[in-house]
Amino acid sequence: MLKGLKKAALARSLWIYHVAASPCNNCDIEILDLLTPRFDVERFGLLLAPSPRHADLLLVTGMVNKKVLDRVLRVYAQIPKPCVVAAVGSCAISGDLFVDSYNFAGPLDKHIPVDVYIGGCPPKPEAMILGVVRAIEKLKKLKDL
């Protein structure tokens, strides 16, 4: 029962922490756009958290470069588990056109476990909402929470 309650509560109240791992900003802007009147994800209990310690959902954007990688790992370590990680945008998923870059540290899922992939360059806010819904579904399926 308790577990069910915990899970139900978590699924309805995901707080977002967003990490810009050398993106082009566009993905980030679209994430912020989610909070604004047209999309208003607060309807589903999503909020922007000021500190990784308060977060449940980590959104990582951008091709992870060598310098920022260390920071991304640190932020990931600071998030209280259980949490969900989403790779937002082609950059975070595969590197986009930056695969050729000398500063590319490899796609995000090479470094931290990624739960949902939200494709697009940038993904439309609608796509991001879909991604979050998928994340919630995934959370609900988790056995040990």
């Binding site: 993106p23 679209e30 310098k67 930056f98 940038p122």
Partner: protein, 397 residues
């Protein structure tokens, strides 16, 4: 009173103040800021090198992804540089379309800034309000280009999509609507007594300092510098339309806000004129063909929402450039924070750092790492290196 302890307040690399990763070290005594250390490099992606491995047709897409907010400015400057090197004239239709897309981007970028500035001040109502109106700008962009951002409109020699005659009247109507909204927002923000209190006299960048730091764009125009590439070095359709350059003298954050908001209104003016002229123009070519890669050098300048973007290209006649160089306005503007934040409080530092509308992903062209990802050189070191090299080369020749 005992002397206050000097502390370092880190802003970043991940901080709700910026959506980008950036590292500022504020040196503070109590609440007073006594120094600022800027560390760049978290966003470096090596664009210049990537560009050298792409054909001229692909480069606009690469530079578009430098920055998502000014995702037209870079291609704009880029195609101009390539056209300059190849000596191509673009058809007038393309010039108008380019101008329209560029100005749309300016409006959305300035609104975005206004909203974020409100957010930084804890004034979320302004944030929501500005971004609500920004959505309608994005809608127009989507109508014209097919994308909310990253328009992929530009190519060397012209544009990829035309604005057809049938689209123009509804666009004009939407624009009128937008104009009303913008006027309302501008009035509300500029007349808010609390905002006056909070922003006036904060983070002043004097005219002298502005010149010394060579700031650009709205940051410079708020400090009384009359610089705008659109006026100084007109390109595309900018000297075929009438508009005004907004200049303020105060140099504080409020002036920067004012310049940006009023510029939005100028931009709608430009778009409207362009659309009308486009309607009168006969249907026709929207691009000029580029037969072979340029042989020689070319530069492109464009007034991005944040200031002048500068692109340089050198070709050898093949389809690949041999050197590509980008300079974004924020690399000049961010530096000016050094003087603007001094003596203010930590609370002000937040808004001052944001007030130049910094765009780090545009800026970071320079970073050097060893294989473990540790910083080898910082900006100043590199500057020194380059100076030394220049001196050596000068001596050699």
């Amino acid at each position: 009173m005992a002397e206050l302890e000097r502390k370092i307040i880190p802003i970043g690399p991940f901080h709700p103040l910026q959506e980008e990763a950036e590292y500022f070290k504020l040196k503070v005594e109590g609440e007073k800021v006594v120094g600022l250390d800027i560390q760049l490099g978290y966003m470096h992606r090596g664009h210049e090198k990537i560009c050298e491995g792409k054909t001229y047709d692909q480069i606009p897409f690469v530079v578009e992804r430098i920055c998502g907010i000014c995702s037209t400015s870079h291609p704009f400057a880029c195609v101009q540089a390539i056209e300059d090197a190849a000596g191509i004239e673009i058809p007038p239709r393309a010039a108008y379309v380019r101008t329209i897309v560029g100005e749309l981007e300016r409006i959305h970028s300035h609104l975005l800034w206004a909203g974020l500035a409100g957010h930084f001040l804890g004034y979320n109502t302004v944030w929501m309000w500005a971004w609500k109106y920004r959505e309608s700008v994005l809608e127009i962009s989507e109508l014209i280009t097919g994308n909310r951002n990253h328009y992929a409109m530009f190519k060397p020699g012209g544009v990829r999509r035309d604005i057809e005659g049938g689209m123009i009247p509804p666009l004009l109507a939407t624009l009128d609507e937008l104009d009303k909204k913008l006027t309302m927002l501008t009035k509300a923000v500029l007349d808010d007594p609390m905002l006056h209190k909070r922003l006036e006299g904060v983070g002043v960048l004097t005219r002298e300092k502005a010149i010394e730091y060579s700031v650009e764009g709205p940051t410079g125009r708020a400090s009384g510098l009359k610089i705008d590439v659109r006026k100084d070095d007109p390109h595309a359709a900018y000297d075929w339309v009438e508009w005004e350059e907004i200049v303020c003298q105060e140099g504080d954050v409020f002036a920067k806000t004012k310049v940006r908001l009023l510029e939005c209104l100028e931009s709608t003016k430009i778009i409207r004129q362009c659309l009308r002229k486009l309607k009168d123009l006969p249907e026709g070519e929207i691009d000029a063909r580029m037969e072979h890669g340029p042989d020689g050098e070319g530069v492109g300048r464009y007034e991005a929402p944040r200031g002048e973007v500068f692109h340089y290209v050198k070709g050898d006649g093949s389809m690949y450039p041999v050197r590509y160089k980008i300079r974004a306005p924020s690399s000049m503007n961010i530096k000016s924070n050094e003087v603007a934040v001094l003596g203010g409080s930590v609370a002000d530092a937040a808004i001052i750092l944001a007030a130049v509308d910094p765009c780090y992903c545009c800026t970071e062209r320079i970073a050097a790492f060893n294989t473990k990802g540790k910083f080898l050189y910082n900006w100043n070191d590199l500057l020194k290196l380059s100076q030394e090299k220049t001196a050596r080369m000068g001596g050699g020749s």
